[in-house]
């Protein structure tokens, strides 16, 4: 059954891309020679330079995408050493993602491309915006592939590199403080360590629970999931209500929900079933954390660092809580998350600390 569908889909893709090729005046003639080509020749991926894809119009560093690429945002993002992020998604014209469940990735079609640019503002010494890297996740024959493009110093081009490297930089944050760090551009191995389920690569963000918010598009504000349907990215089969994560920065929301949202995006890629660290008892996915023991409450650490940390979450006592300790350190073998963070995310540490200290529960 599945195979028939796949064959059918392939046939359709071929027909559509051929049609598209004929009607597209911008296409170079040689691009139309091979019949499987759409807008992108995936056989040649990853392309050497970011500009080779033609995602952007005008000055590439302004990150203005072509009309067929949609920007998006997630409600609670992953903390990446205070880097800002711009996210975009492209799908073939004839293909759509389908809804699975609120807490799981949308089933995205082959040749989906997710584009994510990491940048800093107020980078010293000249207080400029600096684009660091643009990461790609694209799906080919049912498998997600990684690519990473590292921006050059004059910010005109980004060049393919999946070997990983460190970048020293200093920037001034929103509070006017100078932050110095060694930003880590990941290698392919590092990408995969977080972006996987068992041993299959996959994106993390595009789940209904993370997308269900209003976004200010150039043509007006709209709910992202509805926009994806309108835009032709998503089948119109959404449920009437979506179980949605909290915005972890929204101080009007209950602290527990903000904590759960933060842990979901920052920790659950490793701490959920069939993931890197699923042999540990914590389960941090949004749909799993209504059970307080999944948050580590009154759970003794299986991997003790210091005997003074009595529980993963020691109610009323952040200083005794392994979760707090690991989020509040930069020591390479102790920090959590292990990857993607080299400095302390003070705002989240404060939130976790307050939440733990307010818990009035007796473990015994």
């Amino acid at each position: 059954m599945n195979r028939i569908r796949l064959v059918l889909a392939t046939v359709l893709v071929v027909i559509f891309t051929l049609t598209k090729c004929k009607r597209d005046d911008d296409m170079l003639p040689e691009d139309c020679i091979t019949p499987v080509e759409g807008k992108f020749n995936f056989n040649q991926f990853p392309l050497p330079n970011l500009s080779d894809y033609g995602f952007f119009i005008g000055d590439m560093k302004e990150q203005n995408v072509t009309d067929d690429i949609l920007p998006y945002d997630v409600i609670t993002p992953l903390f990446s050493d205070y880097a800002h992020k711009k996210r975009f998604i492209w799908m073939p014209e004839d293909a759509k993602a389908t809804y699975n469940v609120d807490s799981e990735l949308l089933d995205m079609p082959d040749e989906t491309i997710i584009i994510k640019t990491f940048y800093y503002e107020n980078v010293q010494p000249i207080n400029e915006t600096q684009l660091i890297e643009t990461r790609l996740l694209y799906k080919l024959n049912g498998e997600w592939k990684f690519a990473d493009y590292i921006w050059n110093d004059d910010q005109e081009e980004a060049v393919f590199d999946l070997n990983g490297q460190n970048r020293d930089l200093e920037f001034i944050n929103d509070d006017g403080e100078l932050i110095s760090l060694t930003y880590r551009i990941p290698s392919e191995t590092e990408c995969f360590t977080c972006h996987k389920r068992t041993n299959d690569a996959l994106p993390i963000g595009p789940k209904p629970q993370n997308l269900n918010k209003t976004y200010s598009y150039s043509d007006g504000a709209m709910n992202q999931l509805e926009k994806w349907v309108d835009f032709g990215l998503l089948e119109d089969d959404l449920p009437t209500s979506v179980e949605t994560v909290a915005d972890w920065t929204d101080e009007n929301l209950p602290k527990l929900d903000r904590v759960r949202a933060y842990l979901d995006m920052n920790c659950a890629h490793c701490h959920r079933e069939d993931s890197h660290c699923s042999y540990r008892p914590m389960r941090f996915a949004w749909n799993e954390t209504l059970l307080m023991e999944n948050l580590g409450l009154c759970i003794e650490p299986a991997e003790p660092i210091d005997p003074f940390q009595t529980y993963v979450v020691a109610p009323g006592n952040a200083a005794r809580s392994m979760m707090f300790y690991r989020m509040n350190t930069t020591e390479v073998s102790q920090r959590m998350p292990l990857m993607g963070r080299t400095i302390i995310h003070q705002e989240s540490v404060d939130l976790i600390g307050e939440w733990i200290n307010e818990l009035e529960i007796n473990c015994e």
Binding site: N163, G164, N199, Y279, N317, V332
Partner: protein
């Protein structure tokens, strides 16, 4: 906001002004129960007690002993609930206080509890600090029999689950040890030293013969990778100085010591390596140590040394699971073919090959074959380390595989039956309910001749000698292991630094052996040491890097029980050379050089005359003896006792060119008994 609330607190506290805010204003207490108000007092200078710095907000009380008495000071009182107190007992003038005792969590839950011997007429300060909280609570000081509402920590949990303490270690604070994750001899005197790495500096606490430590630094560049995940030691470049290998989160740094040992140069991987356990071992058996590293998320890597500071980086061939899962490697000869094999303790969530443990059999030609399935060790037990030893003293290495999580089963004892491993856990008395952890190491901690296991610093499994084990509640933070007071019992350093746990066992004999490689690598890593005594046969493999993260001594340590004579000591070197010594006395340290055949026994050597000439001398010192000294190094010491050189005798003479003029001692360090003479170099 924070500043405002702080000022407010200060104003408020000033208004209430309780006389407990400083040492000078301490409140006197008599025997009985007292309230400790919210902690608001101050400490004028940095004060350390029981390995921890006293916090910023403290309350001060004092008690003057009317007679010599044993005092209980405790917050383990039922009205305190789970008061997260930390307690310090200090004495002396306020300007020069010293720590008498300190405790955290010694009572029920987070409460504190200690007893100390008070002397008549001496004033003791009772200080609660804010390590965890500034909350108020109550405390008792006085006779143990008079305390009210006491929750005796010894009764905690009804005594059902906690086993008895059958082996004890006493903590001693040692300054200069910031992170104590490496114990190895760093200056060639065959006494274990402690290496503490912080940034560009490795601080070495050199063990002295009188039991003290002298601190010295090895300086170098700030390494690209710190030893966050693991550290290993050995002489990678064959210059006679032990080097260090740092396993970091993004790569490997090999810190190569200069010929004088004082500085490092660094060789670091360009490639991304998510390090776990690293080992130094001669992988291609060319007589030079190489460096091996477990990769968490990719195939393992190793660096072949050219012996001159150059390394060839290789990925693959030693654990090639695509996405890693490699945590704890141990290099040991499992099938007694004289070739060193490698076991990898593996861990990974989900049903994936990354969590299937592997055994790599050495083919003897530089290649290895993974035989985990064939030998019965291809288990998906989630483990970060395994402990290899001949637990039943039958001449082959068995393995205890320590669970880091019970999600795929608990700890396992696998008995080696002619190269096939049989799960005998249920027969051993090892409980599945034992705590899990990441550090599993094995040594003969009580010198009874049978190897015991330390489980992540919570429990020791004491070997009963018949492949059953008795649980001992021995809660020391299990860092690296070595003999840090040269008493033949193995001690442990806290991996968090600051403390040595000295083994308090007594009454059994021991033998320590330091192999000195010639054709093989200098450290003798990979050598199999076999001894025969009344107890039977015992074997050790010399390893650089066991357990998960720490580096323990390179000495082969044997407990001998009541045996006083070891009939034979045999070293099977990685080169294939076999060295044998016969009839050596217990309670000694043998430094054995790689020489083919039977070596004269140490007792015979010492029975002979030992002298040096000419005296005074200039360039050479001739050794006068009709015995063969070539199997033992001669040590030259200055009159302060510092070893200035340690050298093998060649043609009955040694070269002195490198030492300055002065008076020296020449001694033979054999069998732990020094035979020495004085001479003058002009």
């Amino acid at each position: 906001m924070k500043k405002i609330s702080l000022i407010f607190t200060l104003v408020l506290s000033h208004g209430l002004m309780l006389a407990q805010n400083s040492c000078e204003e301490a409140l006197e207490v008599s025997q009985g129960t007292h309230e400790c108000e919210t902690l608001i007092g101050e400490v004028s200078n940095d004060l350390e007690c029981a390995g921890l710095l006293i916090g910023e907000s403290v309350n001060w009380y004092y008690y003057t002993a009317e007679e010599d008495e044993t005092l209980l000071v405790t917050s383990s009182l039922s009205q305190n609930g789970n008061w997260d107190s930390r307690l310090n007992i200090l004495t002396g003038a306020c300007s020069s206080l010293t720590c008498v005792a300190g405790n955290d969590d010694g009572g029920t839950g987070y409460t504190s509890d200690l007893t100390f011997e008070a002397e008549e007429g001496i004033t003791y300060f009772i200080v609660f600090d804010d390590q965890w909280t500034t909350n108020s609570g109550e405390f008792y000081i006085g006779n143990e029999d008079d305390v009210e509402n006491y929750v005796d920590p010894d009764d905690d949990g009804g005594g059902g689950d906690t086993p008895e303490t059958l082996i004890t270690f006493e903590a001693t604070t040692l300054p200069n040890v910031i992170t104590g994750d490496c114990v190895v001899d760093m200056n060639g005197d065959f006494l274990d030293d402690i290496v503490s790495v912080s940034g560009a500096t490795a601080t070495v606490s050199y063990q002295q013969e009188n039991g003290t430590f002298l601190s010295g630094n090895i300086e170098g560049p700030t390494p690209e990778n710190s030893p966050s995940w693991s550290i290993a030691a050995g002489d990678l470049d064959n210059n006679g100085m032990n080097d260090l290998m740092y396993g970091g989160g993004g790569g490997v740094s090999l810190m190569l010591r200069s010929d004088d040992g004082a500085t490092f140069t660094e060789w670091a991987t360009d490639e991304y390596v998510f390090c776990q356990r690293g080992n130094m071992v001669d992988i291609n058996n060319d007589g030079i140590l190489d460096a091996y590293m477990c990769h968490d998320v990719a195939p393992n890597v190793y660096m072949l040394s050219d012996g001159a500071g150059g390394f060839e980086y290789i990925q693959g061939g030693l654990g090639e699971t695509p996405n890693g899962g490699n945590y704890g490697s141990v290099w040991t000869d499992y099938n007694n073919d004289g070739l060193i094999d490698m076991f990898i303790a593996k861990c990974r969530g989900g049903d994936v090959p990354e969590n299937i443990n592997q055994l790599h059999r050495n083919n003897g030609d530089g290649t290895f074959t993974e035989v985990g399935e064939e030998v019965g060790l291809a288990d998906n037990l989630q483990t970060w380390s395994s402990a290899w030893a001949d637990y039943d003293n039958d001449g082959d290495m068995d393995v205890f595989i320590g669970a880091s999580s019970t999600s795929n089963g608990s700890h396992k004892m696998m008995r080696n039956d002619d190269g096939i491993f049989i799960d005998i856990t249920t027969e051993t008395g090892i409980l599945a309910s034992m705590p899990t952890g990441i550090e599993h190491v094995c040594h003969d901690y009580n010198n009874d001749g049978y190897v015991d296991i330390d489980i992540s610093g919570t429990t020791m499994l004491l070997n009963n000698g018949d492949m059953t084990f008795t649980h001992s509640n021995t809660a020391v933070n299990n860092g690296p292991v070595g003999d840090l007071n040269n008493d033949g019992y193995l001690d442990i350093v806290s991996p968090f630094g600051g403390e040595i746990y000295f083994n308090q066992s007594e009454g059994n004999n021991y033998l320590k052996i330091n192999p000195i490689g010639v054709q093989s690598n200098k450290n003798g890593i990979g050598a199999r040491v076999t001894i025969e005594s009344n107890l039977g046969t015992q074997i050790r493999d010399i390893k650089s890097g066991d357990g998960f993260g720490n580096m323990s001594m390179l000495t082969a340590h044997f407990g001998l029980g009541q045996d006083e004579i070891v009939e034979s000591v045999t070293i099977n070197w990685p080169s294939g050379i076999v060295t044998t010594l016969n009839n050596v006395y217990a309670n000694n340290t043998l430094n054995i050089v790689e020489i083919e055949g039977d070596v004269v026994s140490v007792q015979e050597v010492l029975a002979e005359e030992f002298n040096v000439y000419p005296n005074p001398t200039s360039d050479f010192l001739n050794i006068s003896s009709n015995m063969n000294f070539n199997s033992f190094p001669i040590e030259i010491l200055d009159l302060s006792g510092r070893i200035v050189m340690s050298i093998l005798v060649k043609d009955n003479r040694i070269k002195l060119a490198d030492i300055s003029a002065g008076t020296y001692l020449a001694r033979i360090n054999a069998n732990g008994v020094y035979h020495q003479v004085q001479f003058v170099k002009e």
